[in-house]
């Protein structure tokens, strides 16, 4: 029986069995509810709602705006986070100066930033992008900073010996060496980005998936609501998978190095 957990194919099969059992249980549960129970729609009803809204009528009106906000916010967080992380990692003095403020800012619960952001930027895209970028940058800043600080001394000695300095040093040595840490930060930030996206769309928006789910609940369209939730789950899985693929390509050397 150990092959079920130890081999890749066995693990996939085990996962499939688990999924079938759990989904089957939920299916039987929803089917057993009376037809008047609107809180627990059947799979068929949710699937019908999913088809009606997400294949593909509301993709342009809700999914695209949501993804656009998330990607812009996440992109700003990555670029800004890596930049600030490098600065803090390179200078003990700056890091010490910034440390208390950084600790405070990253401790603010993300959703609490929405009201001030709305006051500052209105209820348009800018608010959501700013909040996502602001909250997502911390894991990337901290990981990048630690990565720069923990640069291997032998590697940096070699680099110094051969006179590799300045931009070459950064581009060819430091950035690749820190990139595993940057990706670790990006993975954490991506989950936060999705969370913040939905929250911000529920609080103040005129479109987006979060807005759709919230509105569906408000107008008792429970089938639509569940369909939206399932879409968000699938989206999360897909985005994480995508980031994983990018990471595997960029860090091919790193993964392989770990195997030995």
């Amino acid at each position: 029986m150990t092959w079920l957990t130890r081999t890749r194919r066995g693990a996939a099969l085990t996962g499939l069995i688990g999924s079938v059992l759990i989904i089957g249980a939920v299916y039987l549960f929803t089917e057993s509810r009376s037809e008047t129970d609107y809180v627990w729609p059947t799979f068929g009803e949710v699937w019908a709602a999913f088809q009606d809204t997400w294949l593909f009528e509301n993709v342009g009106s809700d999914v695209v705006p949501s993804l656009k906000r998330m990607f812009i916010g996440f992109f700003i967080a990555v670029v800004g986070g890596v930049g600030v992380g490098f600065v803090l990692g390179s200078s003990r003095v700056l890091d010490a100066l910034a440390s208390p403020v950084v600790s405070f800012l990253r401790s603010i619960p993300a959703a609490a930033l929405l009201p001030p952001a709305i006051v500052l930027f209105g209820i348009g895209d800018v608010t959501k992008i700013v909040v996502i970028a602001f909250v997502c940058c911390w894991p990337i800043i901290l990981n990048t900073r630690d990565g720069v600080r923990e640069l291997d001394s032998t590697m940096m000695s070699s680099t110094a010996i051969y006179g590799i300095t300045g931009l070459s040093r950064f581009r060819l040595v430091v950035l690749p060496a820190v990139s595993p840490r940057i990706f670790a930060g990006m993975r954490v930030s991506l989950s936060i980005a999705i969370l913040l996206l939905v929250t911000s769309e529920m609080v103040a928006s005129a479109d987006g998936i979060g807005y759709f789910v919230f509105l569906a609940q408000q107008r008792f369209a429970v089938d639509d609501m569940w369909a939206g939730v399932i879409l968000l789950g699938l989206l999360g899985v897909a985005l994480n998978f995508l980031l994983g693929v990018v990471e595997r390509i960029v860090l091919r050397w790193h993964r392989s190095a770990d195997l030995l």
Partner: protein
């Protein structure tokens, strides 16, 4: 050519200071192979850092061609013990070797850099592995890459810090002979830091024995064994045994100095 004159290093950590090196004086002539041995903690690696310009000595100076070394000089290359951390895992063998030539102090033209790289890779016997990544190679082969990188940089002086301490005995003997061979081929001066007395005697023209820390020069021995050296024959010569014993006794000599901080 290279003078270590009055070099002393004191590490300060908070209120406590540790004197790693008291005062060292010796010279390395052009073309010479100098082995530096000493008991563990004798500051061998610290000395090498001073010689390569990575660390400024607290007192004294290392002088190359009459100029004090304050930063890593163009005329030097270093091979470290830990090949897995001195090579760049994200580059293949060729890029690892060519990187210092194109983007480091040498600023070579592309063609010249590629030619120097090919020659160095050939010299260490890694032809055909140019597109392998370091992690696809054995430890001994990785250290060959590090040696090739140093050779391609065309240094006058090659510093080696325990370069064979992390490979198995068989590979170690192979790499020792490789270094002796490329030394002839490229005509470079080599300073080898090692804890291995056999290795120091086998490879060197001169062995500098450091004392216990804070270290001083215990003894400087001339190794007049015939060249080229050979793993089997050289090590069976009676002179080899005598020199080996001499170095051993020099290292193991009880510390006669009064205990000091």
């Amino acid at each position: 050519m290279l003078e270590v004159s009055g070099v002393g290093v004191t590490y300060a950590r908070g209120a406590t200071t540790t004197k790693a090196i008291d005062k060292l004086d010796f010279t390395v002539s052009a073309g010479e192979f100098v082995g530096i041995v000493g008991p563990s903690g004798a500051g061998k690696t610290t000395l090498l850092k001073c010689m390569s310009g990575l660390l400024r000595p607290t007192s004294g100076a290392v002088v190359l061609h009459g100029r004090e070394i304050t930063q890593p000089p163009l005329e030097m290359a270093v091979v470290f013990q830990d090949y897995s951390r001195s090579l760049y895992p994200w580059f293949d063998v060729q890029r690892n070797v060519v990187l210092p030539l194109r983007h480091g102090g040498r600023k070579m033209a592309k063609d010249a850099a590629l030619a120097a790289t090919a020659e160095a890779i050939k010299a260490v016997g890694l032809e055909g592995f140019e597109e392998h990544h370091p992690w696809q190679l054995s430890g001994g082969m990785q250290q060959r890459v590090a040696i090739a990188r140093a050779l391609a940089y065309q240094p006058e002086i090659l510093l080696m810090d325990e370069p064979f301490a992390s490979v198995d005995a068989q590979t170690r003997a192979e790499l020792e002979d490789l270094v002796l061979q490329v030394r002839e081929q490229f005509g470079i001066t080599i300073v080898l830091v090692t804890h291995d007395i056999d290795e120091a005697v086998y490879m060197s023209d001169t062995v500098v024995v450091l004392s216990r820390p804070p270290s001083t020069v215990q003894e400087i021995l001339t190794i007049d064994l015939p060249k080229p050296r050979h793993q089997a024959t050289t090590k069976t010569l009676p002179e080899y045994g005598k020199l080996r014993t001499r170095v051993y006794e020099s290292i193991m000599v009880p510390d006669s100095r009064p205990a000091s901080v």
